[in-house]
Amino acid sequence: MMVADFIFFMFAAVVVVSALMVITVRNAVHSVLFLALTFFSTAGLFVLLQAEFLAAILVMVYMGAVAILFLFVVMMLDIDFTTLRKGAREHLPLGLTVGLVILLEVVAIGMGFHQSPESAAAAAALEPMNNTMELGKLLYTKYLFPFEVISLILLVALIGAVALTLRQRKDAKRQDIHQQLARKREDAVQLKKVSSGEGA
């Protein structure tokens, strides 16, 4: 038990510190890297909870894809973050006070949380099950309806991304076979009578 506690506190400390670093470091690229560290440590916490599937997803999707994509965006945008932060400094004392009060309240309420015997028993009963298989079964049975709705949300995200960013470049020479085949002789060939001695 001691070892598990030690590992938990280590990961938890890294999560908190790196999350703080995300919003405090000046360099946006460092900020994204700290975000990746936060994801990784959270994945560690999931492993401790024996939720190895969630941990793997977190590492693959969030660290491997999302954070790296962020990194690309941040590198390409070239935003001057120091000027963006100027306003934040003035509102810092008020924001900190409000945040601190809310934090204290949440902590105070969280202190009162006790696990009921029923849920402890339920957790014990779940012990021998295989995470990935159970998740899969739940997704396609109990949570079938939300699962389908999520697919619609992803479709909307896709439509949105294309509708807001796709631009047909006018200067690109794109081959349109349909247009080529539909072209008639009259559109392309002109017959001109050229009088002698003057040229076309």
Binding site: G112, F113, T141, L144, V149, L152, V156, I159, L164
Partner: protein, 486 residues
């Protein structure tokens, strides 16, 4: 390995399935037919889809409460009423926006398809019996509308509106989700009926967690319905978004959010009325005050209507916070009236908007001298929003205040009536501009009024007058739909 499927009754969600499939079919049509004719086809198809969905709703709805997918999806007369309102609130703006979209070169298939998916999200919210379904419906709706708000992507203000709405909407979703996790942490369930059973019993030492979760959920909703003090985004987004989108998002998402709020407050947190009522009262008073006072300073009619809608949300919240049957029915009537007043006003704004002129209140100067009928209709909607009898807006406010007085919340009613009087000032200012000021010399108000526009103006205008004089029928419907919660 035995797999237990939940009870699945697909007939209950036939309208939703139809809209989803039709939306995807129209999307394919958009991809194949990029010419003008194809776009007209998609637009007509969208309107047809909503009409068919309304028919399906009417014939498949269960008046007694029926659930499917293990309680995640509910069908009852309340859902039917709210869904009919939402379909109307999506259909009418789509009918009148075609000319506006063409003028601004955003008449594209994606616009129509996204509107359909936003409607679908709203329908799912109104039927949700579980926080999961509710949240996903909300996200489907919001995500579609974020994109719609930014749809004029070459216009700086439209992009800004979309981004602002997106960032603040995501924050609101985060707060809502945090609330939901706290409730889940305490009760171990996300289903409304189970939460109801949990909070009815002895909460032991979890009372504080449940309350905190509930308040966070209410804050998340307040963002979505733009109730003060969480309204900051609304004026900017209403102003920056294309006017046709503003007309859409001033009505449809509000109805959806209130439908979901009914489900959460009555089905899940019904026994905690004493806890959530003061929160709603606070939001209500602040909203009517902000709606009335801040609107006075506005010169842009879209911003003015944004503040006006914040005020309307305040009156609706008064009705909700009362907690009596009369209050809940009053809110349902108010929401129906709200749709028609708003769509009517926005139809005229869409019509008068030409080449960037028509968003300022001063652009309406002297409208009555040139187009008396249009000015009369605009005046009708303004009077109705101000709550002047015998128009529908008055009936909505009357029922809400009656409910508040009957429940002994006389102070709340008085505050509402006072700010309603203050609010009348800025509505009447528009009327004054139209009737008593001379038109600017270069403005002739010459425009074609297409047949769908005439139709919608006629329907909304008649509704505002007829419901104002004979409100019984709509109150009966509201009563029937509230019977679902007994």
């Amino acid at each position: 390995m035995p797999v237990q499927l939940p009870d699945i009754n697909l007939t209950l969600l036939l309208p939703e399935i139809f809209i989803a499939l039709a939306g995807m079919a129209l999307l394919l049509l958009t991809a194949w037919r990029e010419d003008q004719e194809g776009r007209e086809l998609v637009a007509n198809g969208t309107i047809g889809t909503i009409v068919v969905a309304m028919g399906l709703l009417w014939f498949t709805a269960h008046t007694t409460r029926t659930t499917t997918f293990g309680g995640m999806f509910t069908s009852d007369s309340f859902a039917l009423y709210m869904k009919m309102l939402m379909c109307t609130a999506a259909l009418l703006p789509l009918l009148v926006s075609r000319d506006y979209l063409k003028r601004n070169e955003i008449f594209k298939g994606e616009y129509q398809v996204l509107s359909l998916f936003a409607l679908l999200g709203g329908l799912i919210m109104a039927s949700s019996g579980d926080f999961l379904t509710l949240y996903l419906g909300l996200e489907l709706m919001s995500l579609s509308i974020y994109v719609l708000a930014a749809f004029r992507r070459d216009d700086k203000r439209s992009s800004e509106a979309g981004l602002k709405y997106f960032v603040l909407g995501s924050l609101a979703s985060g707060i809502l989700l945090y609330g939901i996790t706290l409730i889940y942490g305490a009760s171990g369930t996300t289903t409304f009926t189970d939460i109801h059973a949990y909070v009815s019993g002895d909460l032991h030492h979890h009372g504080a967690i449940v309350n905190l979760g509930m308040i966070l959920i209410l804050i998340g909703f307040s963002f979505k319905i733009a109730a003060a003090p969480f309204h900051m985004w609304a004026p900017d987004v209403y102003e920056g978004a294309p006017t046709s989108v503003t007309a859409f998002m001033a009505v449809m998402p509000k109805i959806a959010a209130f439908a979901a709020l009914y489900r959460v407050l009555l089905e899940a947190f019904g026994p905690l009325h004493a806890e959530w009522s003061p929160v709603l009262q606070f939001l209500a008073v602040l909203s009517v005050a902000v709606g009335a006072l801040a609107a006075i300073a506005q010169t842009n009619i879209k911003r003015m209507l944004a503040y006006s809608s914040i005020g309307h949300v305040g009156y609706v919240l008064i009705g909700l916070s009362v907690g009596s049957d009369l209050g809940y029915q009053a809110v349902l009537v108010y929401l129906a009236v709200y749709i028609f007043m708003n769509v009517g006003a926005f139809t005229l704004i869409l019509l008068l908007n030409r080449d960037g002129v028509g968003d300022e209140i001063s652009d309406y100067q002297g409208l009555a001298h040139k187009r008396p009928l249009l000015a009369f209709l605009m005046a009708l909607f303004m009077f109705s929003m101000a709550g002047i009898p015998p128009l529908a807006g008055f009936i909505g406010k009357l029922y809400v205040f009656m409910a508040a007085v009957q429940a002994g919340m006389i102070k709340l009613a008085i505050v509402g009536i006072l700010f309603s009087a203050v609010g009348a000032f800025y509505y009447l200012r528009v009327v004054k501009r139209m009737y008593f000021d001379q038109p600017q010399s270069d403005r002739d108000f010459e425009m074609e009024v297409s047949i769908p526009n005439r139709l919608v103006m006629g329907v909304t205008g008649l509704f505002v007058v007829i419901v104002g004089i004979f409100p019984e029928q709509i109150l009966t419907w509201a009563k029937i739909s509230m019977s679902s919660f007994q």
